[in-house]
């Protein structure tokens, strides 16, 4: 059933040995490092392979540090996105042993030094080069969402509990890991029909803003395709900000769509108002 996203490399690749002068997993007491083996995807959307690198790792290093070591010492043109290196900006998203992750927040000590770690780009998006994907589709979806719309006479007096209702959703750092893991986008490539968890989080953040007046229900049903979500909670599981995406953002919006479009009383009301208008 699994379909291949256009521009993505095939899942299985031949592995080439780049260099292996140190036995994996051994601790070098002089430099206080342990050697880990990384298998890193190198290539573009059409052609690529996993390349093996042995990397000396010091205590506290994260996976992104290992990639930076490879850039500085082995492969200067290795493409990786990153910025803040502290889990705030959501740039360094990739898949580590197949798990969508922020590489700056993955401590090497979480992994076994005796087993190679497989590092690949996000699978739901076309690869540009190495670990960098073309995520521009996300920005296109975002541009279609009706922006924050306060009432013309809004006076912006509201209270901390009003703020808290929206805050969880506004923590989103746009790492797109939820988009990557979502099977509607990842396996079924329904990018033409489903906006994905990130944008249901954004619309929830707007909806719960105490001064917002826009009604995005029709967008949610027709364009965002909220019905495609079948509540597997994968997005919530990978969210580095621990946003309860499925339970707190998607389900309430599914309910709003149901209330508006499928509730018998609401349907009668809408028909009557159509007749009278």
């Amino acid at each position: 059933m699994s379909t291949q996203t256009e521009g993505q490399p095939p899942a299985e690749e031949a592995t080439t040995e780049e260099q292996s002068d140190e036995p994996t997993g051994d601790r070098d007491p002089e430099t206080d490092t342990t050697t880990y083996t990384l298998e890193v995807y190198r290539g573009d959307g059409e052609d690529g392979e996993l390349v093996t690198y042995d990397v000396p790792i010091q205590a506290g290093m994260v996976l992104l540090d290992a990639l930076h070591w490879i850039q500085a010492n082995r492969q200067p043109d290795l493409a990786v996105r990153w910025n803040c290196k502290s889990g705030r900006c959501g740039s360094c998203s990739m898949e580590i042993d197949g798990m969508p992750s922020l590489s700056c927040m993955k401590r090497m000590s979480e992994y076994d030094a005796d087993t190679p770690i497989r590092v690949t780009p996000m699978r739901a998006f076309p690869v540009v080069k190495d670990l960098v994907c073309d995520v521009s589709w996300n920005y296109e979806v975002n541009a279609e969402i009706e922006p924050f719309t306060p009432a013309p006479d809004a006076d912006f007096t509201f209270y901390q509990p009003d703020v808290e209702r929206s805050r969880e959703f506004r923590r989103c750092i746009e790492c797109f890991l939820c988009q990557d893991v979502c099977h509607v986008l990842r396996e079924h490539d329904k990018k033409d029909a489903y906006a994905g968890p990130r944008y249901l989080v954004r619309s929830a953040g707007l909806h719960f803003h105490p001064e917002d007046t826009a009604d995005r229900t029709e967008w949610m049903k027709e364009d965002a395709g909220v019905g495609y979500c079948n509540i597997t909670h994968c997005c919530s599981d990978v969210c580095p900000e621990d946003i309860e995406i499925t339970d707190n953002a998607i389900i309430p919006q599914k309910e709003r769509v149901v209330d508006e479009y499928y509730d018998p009383l609401a349907q009668i009301k809408r028909k009557l108002s159509d007749v009278w208008s």
Binding site: D44, Q58, A59, G60, M61, V62, D65, Q71, A72, P76, D77, L78, A79, V80, R81, W82, N83, C84, K85, S86, G87, R88, C89, G90, S91, M105, R107, V128, K129, D130, V132, D134, V135, Y139, N142, A143, P147, F148, P150, A154, F156, T157, F158, Y159, Q160, D162, V163, S166, R167, R170, R171, I173, E174, L206, H209, P210, D212
Partner: protein, 605 residues
């Protein structure tokens, strides 16, 4: 040559998509002009996203006595009087309106009990002044500006690196860069260009700044004919993480101290009480008891010495560690666990709790953090007109961290986000006005474009060029050792020699691989910018024979009255660095009287 390049005509081109760049773009788009923003990363990833504490603005929601005058005076005092007084005035007057505008665009600030924007205390601000969103103010700000930019239909050229400004005579005519995804060139023809490229923290090894902060704007402006001022003043934020080594330099927000966090040495002494400078004597709590009352909310008490300005706290930490009273990993302790309840810390500092838990396996609600100064911010930058943010190059504007003047010798926490909003807005309007008044685009010199493109390609052609990664690491070591926090003439002179050698090698870098998304190639141009900025810092620091604000000279440990109103302007003359000693603009009469009368103490509320 230039016909074959991907060419875009934009009346106003904004380089950089942080708080300043997006503010500028939105304001420029209020005029009848086409506007585009170009940025090296994806939209929404700029360093503004990392800002934690808040936006300084005299809204007076928590402290009704606060007004622009107090904010102006605090900013001037924090900057040791070197600030451009007109910029400090504009900043203090306009930041409340910019914060309210951000709220109208959807930013959700924390609230007061009466439903207004809440404000928190911060170092050097005499009143509770920072509008904030927990400790994620920057994320809320960038997302709000990003959404507004998209809603206004402003073109965004993301993952596109600008490398050169293009001139027509002495006025700006556009910019040249490369698309990062495939390495192909892109040319912008523009009537006005706004530099909003941020800082240069990648000059230093221990820094809170990401890979993007490579002095691109500083270097491009210098080459175009603009001047840099106050370059001696690099802010080392007192509290960066020290362990694990891989996250050394990552910022720990001043909000931790604002919420009651205290600094301790290895002997469990609260050492900041010993480091109160004369200028602040009387405006901080002299005893733990009074400091505790302030933390508990008693605004008749004076704030704890941990909230002294960043230059003072950074030097104090350095002194303690040098004296052998440091923590196990070479910092000092920052403790909030014993000052506040677990619930309070989790509510007020959620990002810090998360950061330490994930990166250092430390629970800050239980245990102290270890901290040490980290390169954080450049006070100096491109000299601009305070009203319009125009540089010496007609049509070239600069706003945000890349511009100089507002912060003088030391920036107060919270004054950066407000700077971005206030002067981004002003630059956008001024650039929009200029572009509206021009009928045609200035011509582009094809030969100049060809030469610049050839220089970009050169690293692929060289056989025995310098490795840009090794060069960057060496630069960071040189800057740390010779142009770091503690400076003297010998070190700076050696530093300049080493930097001149690095500059030669930076012009001779080599890389391989394809043009597509090639960080090694990108580092070739970034490292040149960084070396040029490093030289500007070192020269300005050597000329400034005194200690003031963030600039500390071991051989001149005191401020020099002669230099109180002097700035050193650095420009390129015939390709060589020229340093001019100039007077800082004098404050107008009303401001001068305010400055003379100010005692720095709170008015009775």
């Amino acid at each position: 040559m230039s016909e074959s390049i991907d060419t875009h005509e934009l009346d106003v081109l904004v380089i950089g998509a942080g708080g300043a760049g997006l503010s500028a773009a939105i304001s420029a788009a209020e005029r009848d002009v086409s506007v585009g923003v170009v940025c090296k990363s994806l939209l929404g990833k700029a360093h503004t996203v990392m800002a934690e504490g808040g936006i300084a603005a005299a809204l007076g929601n928590v402290a009704p006595a606060d007004d622009w005058k107090s904010h102006f005076l605090d900013t001037m005092k924090g900057g040791w009087g070197l600030n451009d007084p007109r910029m400090a005035e504009i900043h203090a007057k306009e930041s409340p309106e910019r914060v309210r505008t951000l709220q109208e665009w959807g930013a959700l600030f924390d609230r007061t009990d009466d439903g207004k924007i809440s404000q928190r205390p911060f170092g050097g601000h005499r009143y509770d002044r920072l509008a904030h969103v927990g400790d994620r103010t920057g994320l809320e700000m960038i997302r709000t500006l990003q959404d507004k930019t998209v809603a206004e239909g402003i073109d965004v050229y993301q993952e596109c690196t600008t490398t050169h400004l293009l001139l027509d005579g002495d006025q700006v005519a556009g910019a040249l860069g490369v698309w990062r995804d495939d390495g192909s060139p892109i040319l912008f023809r523009s009537k006005a260009v706004i530099l909003a490229t941020g800082g240069l923290g990648q000059c230093y090894r221990i820094t809170s700044n990401s890979w993007e902060y490579t002095a691109d704007g500083h270097a491009m402006a210098l080459r175009a004919g603009a001047a840099l001022v106050d370059m001696a003043f690099v802010q080392f934020h007192p509290t960066g993480m020290v362990w694990p080594k891989s996250v050394q330099g990552t910022l720990v927000t001043e909000g931790v101290r604002g919420e009651g966090g205290i600094l301790l040495n290895s002997e469990d002494e609260r050492f900041m009480f010993d480091y109160v400078p004369d200028a602040y004597e009387g405006s901080v709590a002299p005893t733990v008891e009074e400091a505790d009352r302030w933390v508990a909310g008693d605004r008749d008490a004076r704030p704890p010495p941990e909230l002294l300005t960043r230059d003072v706290v950074a030097r104090a930490i350095l002194s303690e560690v040098s004296a052998g009273r440091g923590s196990p990993h070479g910092g000092v302790f920052l403790d909030i666990a014993n000052q506040r309840s677990t619930e309070y810390i989790q509510e007020k500092l959620p990002a810090m709790v998360h950061q330490f838990r994930e990166l250092a396996e430390i629970d800050i609600t239980e245990d102290p953090m270890e901290v040490f100064p980290t390169c954080h911010y450049m006070m100096g930058g491109i000299r601009v007109d305070p009203e319009t943010q125009e540089t010496a190059v007609p049509g070239l504007y600069a706003s945000g961290e890349v511009a100089g003047g507002l912060h003088g010798a030391n920036r107060l926490g919270g004054n950066s986000l407000s700077d971005l909003l206030v002067f981004g807005n002003r630059a956008g309007h001024a650039a929009g006005d200029r572009a509206e008044g021009m009928d045609t685009f200035p011509p582009i010199d094809d030969e100049d474009v060809t030469n610049k493109l050839n220089s970009l390609e050169a690293p692929f052609e060289r056989e025995d060029g310098t490795d840009p990664y090794a060069l960057h690491a060496e630069l960071q070591t040189v800057m740390e050792e010779y142009v770091g926090i503690m400076r003297d003439d010998d070190r700076l002179t050696t530093g300049i020699e080493r930097l001149e050698d690095l500059a030669e090698r930076a012009a001779n870098t080599a890389t391989d691989g394809s043009r597509a998304y090639n960080p090694g190639w990108e580092k070739c141009f970034a490292v040149r910018h960084l070396v040029e900025a490093g030289l500007a810092i070192a020269h300005a620091a050597r000329e400034r024979t005194e200690s003031r604000g963030a600039h500390t000279r071991i051989d001149y440990p005191e401020p020099d009255e002669e230099l109180e109103r002097v700035e050193f302007a650095i420009s390129l003359v015939g390709g060589e660095i020229d340093i001019a000693r100039e007077a800082v603009p004098a404050p107008r009469e009303e401001l001068r009287e305010m400055l003379q009368a100010d005692t720095g103490e709170e008015e009775t509320q």
